[in-house]
Symmetry: D2
Subunit: 294 residues, 4 copies
Amino acid sequence: MTIDLDVQSRPAELRFKLTRVGVTGVKKPVNVRRPDKIVTLTTDFDIYVDLPSTMKGSHLSRNLEVVSEIVEESVREPVDSLEDLCSDIARRLLERHEYANNSEVRSRADYFLERRTPLGKRTTEKYCLTASAHATRGSVVSVSKCIGVEVVGITACPCAMETIRHNLELEGRNIRAEVPVITHNQRNRTTLALEVPEGLEVEANDLIDLVERSLSAPTYEILKRDDEAKVVELAHREPRFVEDVVREVLIRLLKRYEDFPDEARVWVRSESEESIHKHNAVAERVTTLGELRR
Amino acid sequence: MTIDLDVQSRPAELRFKLTRVGVTGVKKPVNVRRPDKIVTLTTDFDIYVDLPSTMKGSHLSRNLEVVSEIVEESVREPVDSLEDLCSDIARRLLERHEYANNSEVRSRADYFLERRTPLGKRTTEKYCLTASAHATRGSVVSVSKCIGVEVVGITACPCAMETIRHNLELEGRNIRAEVPVITHNQRNRTTLALEVPEGLEVEANDLIDLVERSLSAPTYEILKRDDEAKVVELAHREPRFVEDVVREVLIRLLKRYEDFPDEARVWVRSESEESIHKHNAVAERVTTLGELRR
Amino acid sequence: MTIDLDVQSRPAELRFKLTRVGVTGVKKPVNVRRPDKIVTLTTDFDIYVDLPSTMKGSHLSRNLEVVSEIVEESVREPVDSLEDLCSDIARRLLERHEYANNSEVRSRADYFLERRTPLGKRTTEKYCLTASAHATRGSVVSVSKCIGVEVVGITACPCAMETIRHNLELEGRNIRAEVPVITHNQRNRTTLALEVPEGLEVEANDLIDLVERSLSAPTYEILKRDDEAKVVELAHREPRFVEDVVREVLIRLLKRYEDFPDEARVWVRSESEESIHKHNAVAERVTTLGELRR
Amino acid sequence: MTIDLDVQSRPAELRFKLTRVGVTGVKKPVNVRRPDKIVTLTTDFDIYVDLPSTMKGSHLSRNLEVVSEIVEESVREPVDSLEDLCSDIARRLLERHEYANNSEVRSRADYFLERRTPLGKRTTEKYCLTASAHATRGSVVSVSKCIGVEVVGITACPCAMETIRHNLELEGRNIRAEVPVITHNQRNRTTLALEVPEGLEVEANDLIDLVERSLSAPTYEILKRDDEAKVVELAHREPRFVEDVVREVLIRLLKRYEDFPDEARVWVRSESEESIHKHNAVAERVTTLGELRR
């Protein structure tokens, strides 16, 4: 007689299905092919499958085995992108969890790009990549995947600038148009995620460029005196609310991915750590390319 | 000639509507009436409205004015609950933002309850309250609200216990049923949120009780030697996966709120900070009471 | 025969003394008397004693009992200050841990004050109080205590302003002195802690005022258009590096506490979340009033 | 006439020297040589120098230039260790900040090692490396450096185990010595830092091994049923307070580095995220090898 130690597969006493069961905070070094080189990304994963009402538990160690296998394959053969990696994991999760109908993978990693300051000095800037994938078991397994980026930059407030310009004029100080007017400016964190339809590709570096150009100005690690002045001036020439930033991202996205289908989902969020307040300002749009095109 | 300084109300150049625009991280001391006393909760708020495609910006200072007014009223007349407070804020947001059709308020506060340890010693335990409200403008304004709790307790793993019991038996060590078998146990954080239908009420303390009873055992701040042993034994008498915890919460919720309508939304999440792994285990169910009753 | 279950008091096999043993993350609602009212502060405590080389473990539940007792006394009779509370806890810790020679208590709580914006509008602003105490057993027990505050405000950079002013002049744009020049500005977090000598007192609100006046400008929760312009102008009239902020705090501290003894320890730290960089700028001085007076 | 735009070098109006001025949160990918390969560590840096009372500000961009240069050199020629990298940065900081007498560098990076579970299965485990360096200008520049590690593992409580064993005996349940008794166990985070004297070397992997063996048991990412049981049993065979963990680290350290000089500083901290409490337990020793040897 075999004693069955598979406690997870025992019938659940309380017969509710579960939306997702899995593990969070799994960190792994992943080798990813980038346009010009191979980089190692220290990546954080959350990995789930659903659970039918009939089973007591999910076999969580299988989630770890799947991530581990696929990440190890990336050591030998670097993956093309974090979203492809997530997609592979999501698909294999359904193979291993034969009782699951849905799998879900979320990942996040610091990422670095070389930049040039306004005056041409080379710097290394820090960004964040995010990627996710969902697999669904039907007659076949279908997978949807998303790629995302987080960009830190500067926003200058158009509203305070306008009031101050007006006040200066009232006081008879004829501010010439070419002299920028003071306003509050601050660190801004803008996130963009885009669904990548099957057969199409998104280059993460493009998304980063696109978001960075949507802010009042990019920020840089090393700014000597003249470069610092330049960044401040650039930001004041393009004062933007968080609302403006989100819309700038959306319009650039529409242009850049005009060949993408209407169904592709889009998520944009911009958060300014207001210098004149202790709280943050946020704007967000959750939508599809189709809705935006209307 | 009046110069219009209302930059926010200027026509948006990029005509995309925004899902939500608002402020995050607004902290306020709120006076709340509890069954037996009035408590001051240091509460964190996120407050949003949507923005039509025609307007450049949302008037964020109105969000702060609304929160400020309603919180100040609570100084004079304590609110009945955090979810009622959110509901009032959500409603007033739509009055002030005449261009918005949706408003959204999320809040979170540390909360303390007196407890008795298994052996009857009095302790003060820390929990977390969450509340949210969404208002929608139609022919009239309708508001939906949710109350939630976060409870920290202990879970003991049923799977390791079973394997170890089996191993002990194999080795001929006849473990009597009444002697508990070792397993890994750990800190668990379980969150429950429930929609509160109009005209009905949910007592936060009930939700906390309900979640706390769904864990392997509650945890306590002060445990002298015998109480400590008792809590450990209790936890080992009720080994539970995160999956079990979520289902225990669901079954208790169904019983406790059997008069609540099918539409009421439910969200349960249990996370164990696994002592044998560096990552966490999570189970989650997002559903409605109606779905659970089927 | 009694079996000794006091595992902590057993002789340590590895005979090293320990610098501190205790508990962290103990949260408690504390009632504190403020100049004009009694407030409840949700306070976070870390509580330690040292451990001799002869003992296996520290009796941690005693730490919790001490905090619990003293906090409960504050429900009946509000404490005068967080540092007095810490001082009482530190003293009682040495009574309970008869084997310990040092005790250490650190605490932290959100704290709110009513403010007036530049144009006189009332707002509630969020600060943070910190307090600590160390007790040492000698022929008698001596206790030292510190009070601290954390203030969020705005700093405007003097360096970028100067470069830009210079560039404008070079371009022949004769900027009149009274027209403020643009620069980057950002959220700044400045912390001050001061040792409170026995028999003397420090009012936390004074420390907050003192730090807030040392920044380029305070920040406010609610700023309608004209107030917003005012805060931006104020900040640009007082551009300050983090170095300047620390020194401004130090000079005010010397004036305000000129009757305090030379030995009183001082710790000031200012951190600007740079809007033109992804990293922060920090300045710090750790010293005594005596050193500052030299 | 040259206008001097070097605002930082202007005389300070408030003539206080500053303990440290610098930047925090600078992230960089660093190539480090490890025993068997080269790895890329996503490293977080804090970088400071002191500031004399005569100068208004520190030239912060120089800190970033120094880090950037030295990190870039690591792309071409991987560094031997994070502490050597910090040491190089600290030294070069004093070259660039001719007015500074002290420099300080702190760094931290996630780090991965291959491990074998008790039953021999291969897993990748996550650790954390920390390194720091201080340079002081005297007749020559002297640099001291530290290497540190953070290890997550499991601790099982000896006290609850003893009480429960006693209770079982009282109830006449003759627990044979070889059957492990239940207790609470939890995730533990232990940190060790050691000063590396000039001319000597410390291998980070050794420190990780040393700390990991000081816990009740290591933890693993992938544990199939029998391995899971094994880890739980191991942890229950070695029940340890945080006090025990710190002392186990100390004794191993003394043995492993017996050729290190007495002056070498040591810092050990162990924190258990108690499964039976909502707060953590902590033990810490700050000392030198010499003090430990006495």
